[in-house]
Symmetry: C2
Subunit: 344 residues, 2 copies
DNA sequence: ATGAAAGCGCTAACAT
DNA sequence: ATGTTAGCGCTTTCAT
């Protein structure tokens, strides 16, 4: 904190403004460039962000609010985002949204957004739990760009980067159907959360497209927690007519469901075929290898950061945009081919 | 960003300095207090952190670096910390440390620390992966207080807040022993990581105290990842003489181990008794309920924040401190009483 | 208790 | 290409 641009100026016998210009990528005579670089190095000069921010009305800080940091998918997203932002000279102020905690009831998203705005972020990356944009009021008023993750863009409010969950969900359920499954259980995510609604929709649509009946008993209302995944298997297994396949719609429910499956001694895929949204390390390792829909996490982060970066720099082209990324299905060994079985 | 302290001054017909004083908790005549509060409210004034920081050489920002955000324990820690810090007026700049990624090899901790220091954090909360303090050089030189989590305090360098892992580990292994187990498998964490070493020590010490032999084959070298947990069961189950009990030393290895257990159709506790470090939602729900060592997460966060807060405010009493918290064992149903079995 | 004024480190407009 | 200078919003002496 001690050495300032002034010191560098003195050291190099140049004007403060020349140093400033250099720092910000301006043109400087070659000889001076060297001198300045040396001086900066020797002195260990680091620009003072506070001073810079005071002038430029920028903090070079991005606020990120998102829940469920305890699952691999989210953690990876945070990690990627942080890296990309840092490479662009931004740091990340992070607010985790409690998933199971009191947060979900009180939904203090607006409070958090306002807090970050007051602290002076240049942009916001938000993963909301429902499509409700009250919390964006101050961001809009103060023209702080917002990119929503796992949501569509909103006219006049925010851009959105999301994965085509309906498609991914459809594809994996279709895969089950094509393997002869008719009774397919599913544990859904919280109502109003776009990804959850889409994954449910994909399931329903696939069933309908293949003329299959949709039984209420097979659609378990969950909330993306491991516990709800666990309960869903519990519930399905208590049915007289058990499903032959199961679709866990996110990482956490998948873990929970697998636990119940272990507990009940259910065999995959002999007793129950199993597919899941969100791929993870173990999914490809455990036996049988789990068929899963993988989200392009790096790409999501990249698109969101890129878009936010552009907005923060005044590029408002195509606002609001909705970037929709395709997930990828990994077909592995957790689905039993019922037709095959019949033949045997 | 528009309304400043100046506006408030004008609005109230008071001097800027009076407003400033009020904001910072100084004494103001009752009548003025009211006027100021009203004006602030009406105008929606929020102090500009950059300007304030420029004067005070403070950013009211704390940097946090920690890995493994994908497990419940870590996620909860981040969440708690963020909350506590915010209540004290600090925001959190977060850098996740990739666990399985390239980070673990290159170990760019110093790079991250320096980055945060350059960005001007007032304090640092770090969970290092090994006891190596090179990365603290700049923090020390610039007198930026550091509280290490999951580490001891270091003379002249940093305070430490940690859990007595040796004790917790000892206790839970002792529990196994007292239930008649002699062949106890364990999957350890990365060498050099204090918590991992301590948990290993607790295991060894308990075995020694009860005069039990320690077999190399039962001590699987892991790295706190789910995969290593999975592999450890795989390995142990391939032994001629399988263990009767297993100790997963953290959340991730526990998940991985449970997966392998499902896959191999191993029954808990009939075929294998199971205990784990780090308690989690499902542990108490699945059958059998898992015996687990729970870390006092809220307390850890509280102690770390409190200590860091004191340091940031110049209180250097007892530096460096090492705060050691006791974990708690939850004895549930995943351990078979072998004596009982003999009787039967 | 309140006010006037200096200045934190930097950027940007303007002058050279 | 480089230099001079005003001022961003705030805290902090120092007066009053």
């Amino acid at each position: 904190m001690a050495v300032t641009i002034k010191d560098v100026a003195k050291e190099t016998n140049l004007a403060i403004s020349t140093i400033s210009k250099f720092i910000n990528g301006g043109n400087v005579r070659e000889a001076n460039r060297k001198k300045i670089e040396e001086a900066i190095d020797r002195l260990g000069f680091v620009p003072n962000d506070a001073a810079r921010g005071l002038r430029t009305f920028r903090t070079y800080t991005v606020g990120m609010i998102m829940g469920g940091a305890s699952n691999q998918h989210t953690a990876a997203l945070i990690s990627e985002t942080q890296k990309l932002l840092r490479n662009r000279g931004y740091s990340l102020t992070f607010i985790p949204l409690g998933m199971a905690e009191e947060d979900i009831k009180t939904y203090r998203l607006k409070e958090y957004v306002d807090y970050l705005i007051d602290r002076g972020v240049d942009g916001l990356l938000i993963t909301p739990m429902k499509r409700n944009i009250d919390f964006l009021k101050n961001a809009r008023e103060q023209k702080i760009p917002v990119v929503m993750m796992e949501e569509r863009g909103i006219e006049g409010e925010a851009d959105g980067v999301m994965v085509d969950c309906t498609g991914g969900s459809y594809e994996v359920v279709e895969h089950l159907i094509k393997n002869g499954h008719r009774k397919i259980g599913i544990v859904t995510g919280p109502r109003g959360k776009l990804t959850a609604d889409e994954r449910r929709t994909g399931y329903i649509r696939a069933m309908e497209d293949y003329g299959l009946p949709i039984y209420k008993e097979y659609m378990i209302e969950g909330d993306y927690t491991a516990l709800s995944g666990y309960r869903s298997i519990e519930q399905l297994w208590s049915l007289n007519e058990r499903p032959t396949a199961f679709f866990a719609t996110n990482y956490d429910t998948c873990l929970g469901a697998l636990e119940a499956i272990r507990e009940f001694g259910i065999r995959i895929p002999e007793d129950l075929s199993f597919v899941t949204f969100d791929d993870f390390d173990l999914a490809a390792v455990i036996r049988p290898h789990l068929t899963a829909v993988r989200q392009p996490i790096a790409k999501i982060a990249e698109m969101a950061c890129e878009l936010l970066y552009r907005r923060m720099n005044g590029d408002t082209a195509d606002f609001p945009r909705t970037i929709r990324l395709k997930p990828e299905c990994f077909y592995r060994d957790s689905v039993l081919d019922l037709y095959d079985r019949e033949k045997v």
